[in-house]
Every structure is written in C-alpha cells, then in structure tokens.
Symmetry: C2
Subunit: 349 residues, 2 copies
C-alpha cells in the first residue's frame, strides 16, 4: 500500500510541517485501511504504490472505470462540527455512485487528505470513514496521501479527494438498450444534500439566517449540522443486482448541476426529458433553503438534488415491477418523469 505522509524532516517542523504527526496519522489509519483488503491486495503497507491482482476478481470484467471526486465545501461543515468520519463516507459513496451509473463495480480506492496542519486524529477519522464505506462497497482502500501544506489551506480547513477504480463487463455495456422516448424516469430518494450545493446552503443557513451547526430546527427534526452532514447515499448496495439488467436503459447520479445537467448526460441526441414536480415529496431541508434564499425552482433543481439522488431510465413495461423491487430493498423509488422526443434538454415542470 502506498500511504506516506508528504512531510519529510525532523526540524522540518520549524517550517510548519510535522513529520511525527504525519506518521502518527498513518499509524492510526493502518488497521482501518487493512480492514478493506481482500485477497487480491499484494505487497505491503508503505510501498510506493498499491498492487492488486485482478485474477482475484475473475469474471468482474476487464473494462476499467475511473472516477475522481471531492465533497465540495461539505468539508467546511465537517470542520464546523468537528466531525470528520461522515465526509470520508460521503467521498467514497459519491465515487461508488459515479461508477454505478457506468455499470461498474467498485474495486480500488485511493484517497488524498490535505490540510495546513496535520491533526492525526482528524486524518484518522476521515480515512476511517472512507474505510467503512469502502468495506460496505467491497472496495479495497489501496493507496493514500496525507499532505501537510502550510499556507495553502485557510487555517483549520481541510480538503479530501479520492479516486475510485472499478470493473465493468463489455457485454453488459454493449447489451444495454439505449435510453429512448417513452422510457419512464424512476427517482430514488436521497438522504439529504449529498455533496452538492454546500456553498449556497452554508451562505443561506449560516450567513443569511444566522443559524449555527447546533441550532435545532423543528422542521428538520435535527440540528443544522446534523442535517448538512447526512451521509451521501450509496446506491450500489441497492442496485448492484441490476447492473446488467436489460430493463435499465440508463442511470444518472444527481451531483453538481442537479436535474438539468446530470439527466442530460444520459440522453441521446434526439431525446429530451420531462420531470414532473410534485411526483415526490421534496424533503423539508430543500423547502427551507428555497424559502430562505427565495430561490426559483429553476435554480433549486439545478443546485440541489431536491430529494432525488439517482435517476433511472426504465423500460415502461417493467417500471412498476422495478420500482416495487427497489422500494422493497429499502429505498423509495418514485415515477418522476419520462423521456420525450426532441432536443436533449431537461424540463422540470
């Protein structure tokens, strides 16, 4: 495993870099990281790069899928709350969902943690959260970098990013029928804001409304901090059995760009999409944000997921069956719209 603190030197500490803190962070992470490893991991913790034998996932496909993500300024909320494990889970789950919509299964994860000053307990909590989410997705946390960068980050701030590598099967990619007019759009519920719209949400809640992370809001049933740190839902555990399902014509992960940009990414040139407002109950946090910011729907459905984290384009003859199956698996699925003929444009009305 490649896991090394960036910082060298002993009295190097004088320049703001603390090698002992880096090594302590690595030590704290060790068992969490190892807990994600399956029999395919070769080599040792501390090598220059992590090695993985693909033969241990025989039959998982030989197309590599790669995604890299951060969690945006949700890290600022983590810092405000002093809670770092959940953003680690967010990061992994975001990647898991990006692979899922390309019909790939998680295999390997590499993380990057950076801050102006390394606090071993903070790194260990964040990476511990990543490891927990990796285990849930059957993904090996195989490489990492902890960077102490005095002066680059604002005091007290951190950033995390991660790259996930998955495997997809050529026959499943080729066998998938294209998204076509008449397909029904099935919306799977999100757990909250996931990892998008945090710069706006923070401005509305903390600056405009003057709330703190500890402010309890009756309409949310929890504190502002608890609401904002709700963990990005991973849809892989729910949908992995449907990856090669011919009834599933397309999948879109609602991240930055909301309904408009993300559903458009799976539309063929000659198809549009129509989303019907009111076909699901928009959760209180989104109604609150819209109300504080006086946001028109066109803005809200672009910045936020509005309660829907994943959209599936489904063969209309099977949609009720699939919606029922997924709902029974634990995630309510709603018929939220349809694929239309016309320009590849998404209309929310």
């Amino acid at each position: 495993l490649s896991r090394k603190p960036d910082a060298p030197g002993s009295s190097y500490r004088d320049s703001g870099v603390d090698i002992d803190a880096g090594q302590e962070a690595v030590r704290l992470m060790h068992s969490a990281v190892r807990s994600t490893w399956d029999a395919g991991v070769l080599g040792q913790y501390g090598a220059f790069a992590g090695l993985y034998a693909q033969s241990s996932r025989e039959g998982a496909g030989d197309i590599l899928a790669v995604t890299i993500d951060g969690v945006g300024t949700k890290v600022k909320v983590a810092v405000m709350c002093g809670r770092y494990d959940t953003v680690g889970q967010d990061l992994v789950n975001h990647c898991v969902n990006d692979l899922l919509v390309q019909r790939a299964r998680p295999l390997l994860f590499a993380d990057y943690f950076a801050s102006g000053k390394i606090e071993p307990a903070v790194v260990a909590a964040a990476v511990g959260g990543m490891a927990e989410a990796c285990r849930a997705a059957g993904c090996n946390l195989i490489a990492g970098e902890t960077a102490e960068m005095p002066g680059v980050y604002a005091p007290g701030e951190i950033d995390i990013a991660g790259c996930m590598i998955g495997l997809a099967k050529g026959e499943e990619l080729e066998g998938a029928e294209p998204v076509a007019p008449g397909d029904v759009l099935l919306g799977l519920e999100s757990s909250g804001l996931h990892t998008n719209g945090y710069s706006l949400a923070r401005r509305l809640l903390f600056e405009k409304s003057g709330y703190g992370v500890d402010t309890h809001l009756p309409e949310l049933g929890c504190t502002v901090g608890e609401e904002l740190l709700k963990i990005h839902r991973p849809y892989f555990p729910l949908l992995h059995a449907f990856i090669g399902d011919p009834r599933l014509h397309g999948l879109a992960h609602l991240t930055g760009g909301g309904f408009y940009d993300n559903i458009a990414r799976i539309l063929p040139e000659d198809c549009g999409a129509r989303i019907e407002k009111g076909s699901w109950a928009v959760p209180p946090v989104f109604r609150l944000l819209q109300s504080i910011g006086d946001l028109p729907d066109g803005e809200a459905y672009r910045v936020f997921n509005m309660g829907i984290g994943m959209v599936l384009a489904v063969d209309p003859t099977h949609v009720h069956e699939l919606a029922g199956l997924i709902t029974r698996l634990g995630c309510p699925a709603h018929l939220i719209g349809e694929v239309t003929e016309g320009e590849p444009r998404v209309v929310v009305e």
Copy 2:
C-alpha cells in the same frame, strides 16, 4: 471521460461559485485531455466515470498498481511565479516514478484541481501540463475533477492531486531477485528539488534570505523561481526497458523522507544500506539551502534529494554495464553506495 466542474447553479455565483468559469475551464482542457487517449478509451468526454478497455494493452500484465500524490507546497511557488503547467507535469511524473519502482507501466491518470476561485486559464495550464506529461508516459488522462471551494483555500492558492493506475506483470514481480547484501546502489540524477522539501526551501529562500522568485542567483545560473519550478524528472522513459531486468533488484523513488525513509522501504529485514557522500556532486541549490539554513547533513539528506532522484539496487557484477547504459540514455548514473548486512537502516556517511 469524467470531467465535471463541482459547481452547479447560475446565481449560485453569489455564494462564491462560478459555474461558467468551471465550464470554460473544462472547454479549455478538452483537447489537451483528448490528446492523451489511446484506442482503449471508451465512452465520451463528460461521462460520470472514464472507461478503459484493458484488451487494448494486451500483454501489459493484469496486476493493477495505484498511487496517489500531490506536489506539496511547490504549488505555492507556481502561484508566486504565475506559472501552472510545470506543476502539472511534476504531479504526473511523481506518480510515474512511484509506479515504476513497483515495476508497473502507466495506464490511466485522474486529476483533482481545487481552488477558492476557479480561474479557467490556470486550470487549463495545470491540466495541460498534466496532459503533456501523460502523453510522454503513454498514460491516458481519463478522469478529472475541478472543485471551486470558497473559504477552504487561502486567497489565490490552489492545490492539485492525481491518481495514477498502472499495469504490472506477475512474472516480472515474482522473477525479481530480492535486494541483498553486496548489491550496489546506483543513484540517478534528479533535475532539482523534484516535489519535496518545499516548505523548508521556501522558508529559507523567501523568508530567511528575502529572495523573490525573480531574484537571479549566479550560483544557480537562473532565478530562484526557475530553480524551484524545475520539473520532477520522470524515470520511466529511461528505465522502462529494465522493468523486468533480473539485474535490477530494487528501485526507490526519493520523495518525502529523502535517502533514509525511501531506501529503507526496499530493504529486507536483514539488510541495511550505506550511502557514500561525495560519490556524486551535490548540485548548487542543495548546497545553497544547506548553507542558508545551517542544516546538518542528517537533516538535508532526509528533507531533500540532494541531486539523486532514483536509487537502484543492482547486482554488483553488472553495475558498471547498467550505469553506462543508463548514462548513455541521458541520465547520469552514479555508484553511490551499497547494501550491507544488518538492520534495515540507511546510513549516509
């Protein structure tokens, strides 16, 4: 290809996130990124994850090697100089070297760029540099994330990180003879500081000595900025033919931790290493840094690479032949020490 700005929304700009700048950055990067693609890249620019068919690299091995890196506070020097392409190359070359020492060949790269405010030209320059270095290494830049994170980064600062995925062959890994007492350590020259020791170097040059990036120093033959931005040397173009060579018992990339930590990473339990000072000419920049900081050797050889970027443990009967070959390929190789019996400890004397 997965390449999406993090920022959604139109009037979202009010909260410090500029979606148009993000999209402009993506547009500027497009051709540079595509220029790295070989026939194995599937799917389209803008997908949720990049897809790559391994069948297009038949025979390259089925062991995946993964490394993730940043360039430390070298990014601060890039910001001071207003030059962003070279740190992009540094990032890729750092990863290339980390894979090389695990006997893996570069295949895919994913980048993360973050800043408090997205300047499209800056992102495009940095990613353009990454693409240039990827092309040189035969590596596909297949995924990326550009994150605008107001408040997380200090004003004007940026950070970059990247994950590289390579392929290694089981027979080459297993066929490699172990590092053993009597092996000669061959040191390959670095191009400068590479990506390590920048927090200390910046403190000594800018704070303690009061130099600016434009200060021309006769002993360096260039400005301080030019010296500090010299590009991390990639050793893959030089050494790729030797990856499976049985004369090569081990490779160490001198990154954070310098001679001590990195050479120790390739020593078996019962082997030490002795590095002989004076067996190569320490370049002026390191002598300058040592002199300004009054750094003892024990500190200098831990923080900096002192002119050696890669160390090879070589079968003693073939060392002169190999050193000659590598030197003729364009990188001077010096006999800098040997593997000894004893504790796995590195001595520089």
